[in-house]
Every structure is written in structure tokens, then in C-alpha cells.
């Protein structure tokens, strides 16, 4: 029970600081609202509830860093329960005789209505949970503090070449962490200590508060009046401190505890592989595509900044960051938040930001390092999409005439002129079909079940066209009824869109859809995951409604239905399989290639980073077009080394000449990894094989 002056001060502080905090939240609400419209969310309530359940079970955070995630779960459960604890503590302070200690034995006297609650032992349960969770929270928080400040965990730092907001540069994230960590330690620690003092003052333990009871023995000898003062102090440090922390909360990263579930619940609902439009739906004609200032970003991107807990998990999985480049998806989110904090009052008042995103949030150089691999988005425990910001910034740079890499520029110009990025005339597209020994149907002239969308790399790259021919021959052999568009096919536009060239993407979509419209087919197949992604997820928005399949799945079906007969089991092969980002993470195509390999008899050994965690080859998002090769170990080289380690740890089988087999199912991967095997000097150890080569070997004449 607090004294009268104490109660007065508390009420006063609660009113004033509560009002300040409410105004702070209103400002945040306005800032988030000042972002551009996002595609409308459906069934918001259901998604929010689902998000709260997921967060309640701590699912999103357990995607990685298991041990730290356990500590986080301690803090999370403790802190959540403390909402209740804080309310009861406040009541204890204000209502005489209302005390939860000893199972709440004193409560019936002041609140007779609560007698059944006491009799059922619910107060004991409450005390027990509060006691245990207090200790767990303190443990978790202590672990976090030690890790950051004593262990100086490198993962919490940025590469030197990453653009940082001046405050971030000065280490404010650590200051903020120290404040939040300190707050939690003091808040929870004081509450716990207060209970200890109370038990000591009463001179008897409450075994439903086991930790506090044990500790209380230490303080038995302290005079009761001092223990009493101690209880007042700890009450203020526990409950009063919340009031002081409230206004700071608005500026702190700790606000993630509210923003994160909201952010997850209000997150993107379209398929992963479908980018949001460059201009919000229904916007005026003069709205420029993409983003230059904070407010050009869609509102979920601004909410992202509030949800971000600055854990750098996204940075850990970013191939550009691992290469030592200046891109860090977490720095992007952190900078965004610090920029918002810096301009908070102006932004909340409806003014536009004064800073270019490319000056404070992400450097132009970093903007062009993103492979759009989606790893950052996938791993983020609070549902952030740093990649979406990057693409919007690219969009505005392109439309605004910013200087772009000469390789990317000539690829885009060739795409616009020739419909492919190889600088080849459209007539050359079907040249790979020469010498096949049979004729592939021309989609414009003949009906077929499948349209094979070949894609640029498979059509033009001399390293890949022999594989394209193998696919053609095997489909032909299995009696698959398919056609190709030949010169009428153009690049699908997937990468052009991800480079930020929305207009070019639309032009390519229109040209392809015009060609599709002239042809008769029911389904689309492709070997190229990038084409698959946009054909499946984005073309429907432009009216292209055909089912799209990856060749790995078609081949699997052919083997399963015995239209391709396995004559040689490839069980002597020691192989690993690389999930292409745009087949795996984007489109969930994990099972088919693995099942196919199993049917071929391949002895498959997984790399540590597989399926959802697969590591990007570094080609996507226009990176393969770059005119300059950035420094550092390329992602594909890193991946080859990972494969060698994984494969050499397992004992049996090997490929031709004792080599390990690196299986790919993407034309760009063939190019990237063949190259990486050479540049890492591993030609004598590993051989890159497209899955079609394994199929060919398995269905070949026995003993081939």
C-alpha cells in the first residue's frame, strides 16, 4: 500500500506521461499512414489473430539462432505476463489489504467477490508463474546484455562500408539496447526483489514463490522498517519506472513488441513472387513510380521500421552482405527508423521528409547489390520486407534517370530492342533447335498441351543450350506434346521488373501475352525459375492465367508414370542439390527435384543451407548483368565451398572420376556454378550437373 503523497505522484505521472505517450503513438499512426497505399488487405482480423497466435508461440523467431531465441522466448513470456503483474502490483499499491502474497489470503476481506478465485488456488498459480517468469526474464535479458556488450557479437555490427544514419554510426542502437535492457532488468528485478523483501518482512516463505522465498532468507535479519522502505522503493522502480519509460518507448526499438505482431498481421498477402505495383493502385497520373523519400514508400514499409528489432538476422543471410558489399537489409530498416525519429515531429505533422532515401537509408551502390533472393524477408522475425524498399528505390532511380551500371543498362536496352538480354536478334532465339533430329511444334501454328517457355539463358547461352536440347529430346522421347514460340518469345520480364524497370517489364509481358494469345496450349512449362516466377505469380494480373510448371516437376511425373524408364540407378553418385531462390523460396518447389533425384537413385546429401534457407547463387535481380564484378568471395563461390564441405563429410559414392556432383535445376545456376567451380579451383573435386543430365544418364541404355 502506497502512502497518500505516493499515490498522488503516481496518478499525476500516469496522467501526464500517459498523455505524452498517447500523443506519441498518434504521431506514429500518422507517420505510418503518410506512406503510400499498399494493395488492400483482406480478412484483416483473421490475419491479425493468426499473427498474434504465431507470435504467442514465438514461431517467427525460431527460424534461426535457436539458443538466443530461447532466451528471447523467456523474455517474451515474462514480459507478456508482466502486463498482468503490473496491473495487480498497481492495485496492491492503491487498495489497502489487497495483497496476492500467500495465495491471496487477505483478499476476501477487501474484495469478497474474489473469494472463489482465492479458494481455487488461482492466486497461487499466478504467484508461481510470476516468480518463475521473473527469473527467466532476468536470465534471458542478462544473456542478451552479455552477448551484446561483453561478447560483442559481430552479428550485431555492420560492415564498415555500409551507409549508416549518423546516430547509428555513433552507436545509438547500442545505447538504445542498453536503456531497454537496463529498463527490463530494473523493472523485473525490482518487482522480484520487492517480493523477496515482503516475504522477509513477514518472516515466512510462500512456496508458490519458490525463488523469492529462498532469497528471502538472506534478508530475514534486516529490520522490518528498512524492508518496508525497500518495498516502496522497489515498487517505484518496478511500476513507477514504466511511466518514465513510456515516452521513451515511442522512440525506442522496444516498440517492436507492439509493432511486430501488427506488422506480421498486416503483412503482404499476395504470393511471395508477386511484387507490389510501382505506383499504388488507383493513384493519380502524376504519382511517380517507386520511392525517393520516406513517404513514397508504402505504409507497410514505414511500419517495418517500427517493427524492426535490429537483430541483423536479415543481414546474416544476405549474400551481398556476406560478400562484404555495402548492402545490409537490416541497416536499411534501422536507418529508416532513425530517420523517422529524427524527423518525427515534421513527419507526424504531415510534412515530407527532407532526406533522400539514397542519402540516409541505403547507398545507391548498395541498392544495386541486391539479388532479390528474398532471404532477408523470409528470415525476418517481425515480417519486414527490406527487399521491397530496395526495389522501389530502384524503380525511382530508373525513372528519374539516375546513372546505372553500364551492364545493366545495356541488358535493359537489349531487352527493349531485341526482347532478350543477350543482344541477339529475335530470329536467333530458336537457333538451339537446329540439329535436334526432330521438329518442335511452332506454337503459333500448331496446338499443343504444353507451351515450353524457354527463356533467354536457355536459348542463347552456349553453356546452356546443349542442356536445353537434352530437355527437348527427353520430353520428345517421353511423348510430351509441347510447342515453343520461337522468335515470338521474349524475356519474361522477371528480372527487368526486379531491377526496377517496370515499364520494360510491362512491355515484355504485353509482347509475350500477345504471342500466347496467338497460340493454342493449356499449360506452360519452363526450365527457368525466374520465368516461372513471373509467369505464375505476376502474369495473371495482366490476364495470363495458365498453370506454370517447372521441368523438375514434369520430369518427376514422367518418371513416376513410367513414361521415362529408369534403366540405370545412379546410386554411385555422391550429390547435393541447390535450391534456386525463384523455384524454392519463392515458389515452394522443394519436393519435386528431390523426389526425382531419389527415383534416379542419386545418393543426395543436403547442404546445411537448403530449402527455405538456401543460399542465393548471386545472379538474380539483375546481378548477372552487372558490368563490373564486385570484390569479395562471390555467393556462388561460397556455395561451392559449402557443398564440398557437406559432401566430403559423407563417405559413400562419387561421380565420374571421383568427383562430387552439384545438381542444379536452373539455367542461370549452370552458368554461375560452372564458373564458380573454376574460379575456386575445384574442377578436380566438383562437377556441376543440370538435373536433366542425370535424367539422361538414368534413362540411357543400361551400362552406358
Amino acid at each position: 500500500m502506497l502512502t497518500i503523497p505516493e499515490r498522488f505522484v503516481f496518478t499525476f505521472l500516469l496522467t501526464v506521461l500517459g498523455a505524452v505517450t498517447a500523443a506519441g503513438f498518434y504521431g506514429i499512426f500518422n507517420i505510418v499512414r503518410s506512406g503510400r497505399a499498399a494493395p488492400p488487405r483482406q480478412e484483416t482480423l483473421r490475419h491479425l489473430i493468426a499473427a498474434f497466435i504465431d507470435v504467442g508461440l514465438q514461431k517467427p523467431i525460431f527460424r534461426t539462432r535457436t539458443v538466443l531465441s530461447i532466451f528471447h522466448a523467456f523474455i517474451f513470456f515474462g514480459f507478456s505476463f508482466y502486463f498482468l503483474v503490473n496491473v495487480t502490483d498497481a492495485l496492491e499499491g492503491f487498495v489497502k489489504g489487497f495483497e496476492l502474497i500467500y495465495g491471496g489470503e487477505a483478499i476476501p476481506a477487501v474484495a469478497p467477490a474474489l473469494t472463489p478465485v482465492v479458494n481455487l488456488g488461482l492466486v497461487n498459480l499466478f504467484n508461481l508463474v510470476a516468480d518463475v517468469l521473473s527469473v527467466l526474464t532476468l536470465t534471458g535479458m542478462a544473456a542478451f546484455i552479455l552477448r551484446r556488450f561483453l561478447g560483442r557479437d559481430k552479428r550485431l555490427r555492420f560492415n564498415d562500408n555500409v551507409l549508416l544514419h549518423p546516430q547509428v554510426e555513433q552507436g545509438h542502437v547500442h545505447v538504445d539496447s542498453a536503456i531497454v535492457g537496463g529498463f527490463i532488468m530494473i523493472h523485473v528485478g525490482s518487482r522480484f526483489l520487492g517480493q523477496v523483501f515482503r516475504l522477509a518482512e513477514n518472516g515466512r516463505p510462500d512456496w508458490f514463490m519458490p525463488f523469492a522465498s529462498v532469497l528471502s532468507y538472506i534478508f530475514r535479519s534486516v529490520p522490518p522498517n528498512i524492508l518496508n522502505v525497500g518495498q516502496h522503493i522497489t515498487w517505484w522502480l518496478a511500476i513507477g519506472l514504466i511511466l518514465l519509460f513510456f515516452p521513451y518507448f515511442v522512440r525506442s526499438k522496444h516498440i517492436h513488441l507492439m509493432a511486430a505482431p501488427l506488422n506480421i498481421g498486416l503483412g503482404k498477402q499476395a504470393p511471395r513472387g508477386q511484387l507490389d505495383p510501382a505506383v499504388p493502385p488507383g493513384a493519380d497520373d502524376d504519382v511517380e513510380p517507386g520511392a525517393k523519400l520516406l513517404q513514397d514508400l508504402a505504409w507497410p514499409r514505414l511500419l517495418d521500421a517500427y517493427a524492426c528489432i535490429m537483430c541483423n538476422r536479415c543481414q546474416d543471410v544476405c549474400p551481398a552482405h556476406s560478400q562484404g558489399l555495402s548492402l545490409s537489409p537490416s541497416a536499411l530498416e534501422v536507418n529508416k527508423r532513425y530517420l523517422i525519429n529524427e524527423e518525427y515531429f515534421a513527419l507526424a505533422g504531415g510534412n515530407r521528409s527532407h532526406h533522400l532515401l539514397t542519402e540516409v537509408v541505403i547507398s545507391p551502390e548498395a541498392v544495386w547489390s541486391c539479388t532479390t533472393c528474398y532471404a532477408c524477408v523470409r528470415i525476418c522475425p517481425v515480417g519486414n520486407e527490406p527487399m521491397a524498399d530496395i526495389i522501389d528505390i530502384r524503380r525511382r532511380m530508373i525513372i528519374g534517370g539516375a546513372e546505372i551500371d553500364n551492364g545493366i543498362q545495356s541488358a535493359l536496352e537489349s531487352l527493349a530492342k531485341n526482347g532478350n538480354w543477350f543482344g541477339k536478334g529475335s530470329r536467333a532465339r530458336a537457333r538451339w533447335t537446329k540439329g535436334l533430329g526432330f521438329k518442335i511444334k511452332d506454337a503459333a501454328k500448331e496446338t499443343a498441351e504444353y507451351l515450353w517457355f524457354v527463356g533467354d539463358t536457355a536459348s542463347f547461352d552456349a553453356r546452356v543450350t546443349p542442356l536445353t536440347q537434352k530437355v527437348a529430346a527427353i520430353l520428345h522421347q517421353a511423348g510430351v506434346d509441347y510447342s515453343i514460340l520461337g522468335r515470338l518469345e521474349q524475356n519474361s520480364g522477371n528480372d527487368a521488373r526486379r531491377v526496377g524497370e517496370e515499364g520494360l517489364f510491362e512491355q515484355l509481358v504485353e509482347n509475350n501475352l500477345a504471342a500466347f494469345g496467338k497460340s493454342q496450349f493449356n499449360q506452360i512449362i519452363t526450365t527457368d525459375p525466374h520465368s516461372l516466377n513471373t509467369l505464375r505469380n505476376e502474369y495473371p494480373q495482366y490476364g495470363g492465367m495458365w498453370p506454370v510448371h517447372h521441368y523438375s516437376k514434369v520430369l518427376l511425373q514422367l518418371v513416376e508414370s513410367c513414361r521415362l524408364e529408369i534403366k540405370n540407378k545412379l546410386s554411385h553418385y555422391r550429390a547435393t542439390y541447390h535450391d534456386p531462390c525463384y523455384l524454392g523460396r519463392y515458389n515452394g518447389g522443394y519436393a519435386a527435384p528431390r523426389q526425382l533425384l531419389a527415383l534416379l537413385g542419386v545418393n543426395l546429401i543436403e547442404m546445411p543451407r537448403n530449402r527455405e534457407n538456401s543460399y542465393c547463387c548471386g545472379a538474380g535481380g539483375g546481378q548477372i548483368w552487372l558490368g563490373t564484378t564486385p570484390e569479395g568471395e562471390r555467393p556462388s563461390e561460397n556455395r561451392i565451398r559449402e557443398a564440398i564441405t557437406a559432401l566430403s563429410q559423407s563417405a559413400n559414392g562419387s561421380g565420374p572420376g571421383g568427383k562430387l556432383i552439384f545438381v542444379v535445376a536452373c539455367p542461370k545456376d549452370v552458368v554461375m556454378y560452372t564458373d564458380a567451380v573454376k574460379t575456386t579451383g575445384n574442377e578436380d573435386k566438383v562437377v556441376v550437373k543440370d538435373i536433366i543430365e542425370l535424367v539422361e544418364e538414368a534413362i540411357g541404355e543400361a551400362g552406358d
Partner: protein
């Protein structure tokens, strides 16, 4: 300041070139047309001059196969202000003399202060359009220029000589410049901008209909490069080829 860029639409080298049945020229039905790459540099240089010193850029070209609009829209998207195309009942393969005469007639009406054009084009490798324009318009000409600045009606022109020597000229306007390269690489024109311009832009048309004097020479025979039969192709993968090369070198006693 009126800046004029004279451009040329030429067959694309992205395609494999084929010769017509008579063997007298390219089979123009089997190639796409693109903007001459030196003209692309000229457009960029014109826009750079305009950005630095003010003025308006007019792009003018002969619409040989009635597909020049796309090129002109791109030029407008890059910062040109006006587009003009010379039209008529035309066939590809127009010689430089005729080309220059038509362009000069069009430019005479434009009150041009500086005329930029690509120093040559891949289709005929003549490099004649610039000098002939200058003759028709009675202006000085400087070719193989790699940088243009204009101030107080004087153009400063940069020209790179063999051995890396750099020449700097000051020429009073008006004049004709044959551009080898712009000061900066040509900028990218975003497609959405080009498409927007395509919807709204008006391209001025100038009709030509004459058989005035052309070049006094004509192309008699065109043929794809004939393989002389001297090359000895080494089949096989890189390793096998490398081995054969070593064997040949040894065999000839070079090692």
C-alpha cells in the same frame, strides 16, 4: 540555342546478316533496324550541351522503313525537345549523298546553331553525312569529336588523336560536328517514359519526293565472308583443344 541532331536508322548487327537473292545488298526483310550507335552518342552530347548551356534539341532522321518513331520517342525521353522525320516512298539502302541532301533541306528550316551527327554509321562506313551536311549548309565541320561545350556562341570541341594526344578546338557557331563519343555514356531511357511520350508526342513530318543527284557510285555485289578454307577447326572441349594446340606447336617445332 538550337541544337540539331541528324540521325540514321540502320540494320541491326544483332541479327545474322543475309544477302538478298540478287546478291546486290542486304536482305532488308530479314533484319531489324536500330539507331546508329554514333548517333546515340550525338543525341547524348546534344542533351548534355542543352543541360549545361540551355537551348532546345531537335532530332531529325530519314524514316527509311517507317519504324523511326520508336527511335525518336526514345530521343525525346532522353531529353530532346522536338522530333522530325523525313518520309516518302523510300527503300532501304539510300546513299550518303541523298541522305545528307534531305537532312540538309530539313535542317535549313530549323535555324540551327550547332548540328551534331554520328561520325559514321556501321551500314556504309562512309563517314560522309557530317561533311556533306556542312557543305550544304555552308558551315565548318569537325569530326571524330569526343566532347562538346558551348559558351558565348563558341563551341569548344575535343578530339582525341592517335597516341592519346588530345586536341582542343574553339569554333564559332554555327557548325557541324561529327561525334565519336559523348562526354558521358548515353543515358538510359526508361520504357514507361518512352511509352508515355509515344502516346502524346507529335512527330513533325517532312515529305521528300525526288530523284536528285545521289552518289555517283553504286554497290554492285555484296556477299557474306567466304571461308578461305585455310582455317583448321579443332573440335572437342576446351581441354582436348588445348592438347591439340600444344601438339601442333610442338609439331611445328615452336616449343
Amino acid at each position: 540555342m538550337n541544337i540539331v541532331v541528324a540521325i540514321k536508322h540502320i540494320p541491326s548487327l544483332a541479327d545474322e546478316l543475309e544477302v538478298n537473292d540478287e546478291g546486290t545488298n542486304l536482305d532488308y526483310d530479314m533484319v531489324d533496324f536500330v539507331l546508329n550507335e554514333f548517333d546515340e552518342q550525338a543525341i547524348e552530347q546534344a542533351v548534355l550541351v542543352k543541360e549545361a548551356s540551355g537551348g532546345a534539341v531537335t532530332v531529325v532522321g530519314v524514316d527509311v522503313i517507317e519504324e523511326l518513331d520508336g527511335v525518336l520517342h526514345t530521343a525525346l525521353a532522353k531529353g530532346a525537345d522536338k522530333a522530325v522525320k523525313i518520309v516518302g516512298d523510300l527503300e532501304p539502302g539510300i546513299d550518303s549523298h541523298t541522305h545528307a541532301r534531305w537532312l540538309a533541306d530539313a535542317i535549313k528550316e530549323m535555324d540551327a546553331d550547332i548540328i551534331l551527327t554520328g561520325v559514321q554509321a556501321a551500314d556504309d562506313l562512309d563517314g560522309q553525312i557530317g561533311p556533306m551536311l556542312a557543305a550544304h549548309l555552308d558551315m565548318p565541320y569537325l569530326g571524330v569529336v569526343t566532347g562538346v561545350e558551348v559558351a558565348h556562341r563558341v563551341a569548344t570541341l575535343y578530339k582525341e588523336y592517335a597516341g592519346g594526344m588530345m586536341g582542343k578546338y574553339a569554333v564559332s557557331l554555327p557548325l557541324v560536328v561529327g561525334v565519336q563519343a559523348a562526354t558521358k555514356p548515353p543515358r538510359y531511357a526508361p520504357i514507361s517514359k518512352i511509352r508515355q511520350i509515344a502516346k502524346t508526342a507529335v512527330i513533325e513530318e517532312i515529305e521528300v519526293d525526288d530523284d536528285g543527284p545521289g552518289a555517283a557510285v553504286m554497290l554492285r555485289k555484296m556477299s557474306p565472308p567466304v571461308s578461305t578454307g585455310h582455317a583448321n577447326m579443332l573440335p572437342g572441349d576446351a581441354e582436348a583443344v588445348a592438347e591439340k594446340i600444344i601438339a601442333i606447336i610442338k609439331e611445328r617445332g615452336l616449343l
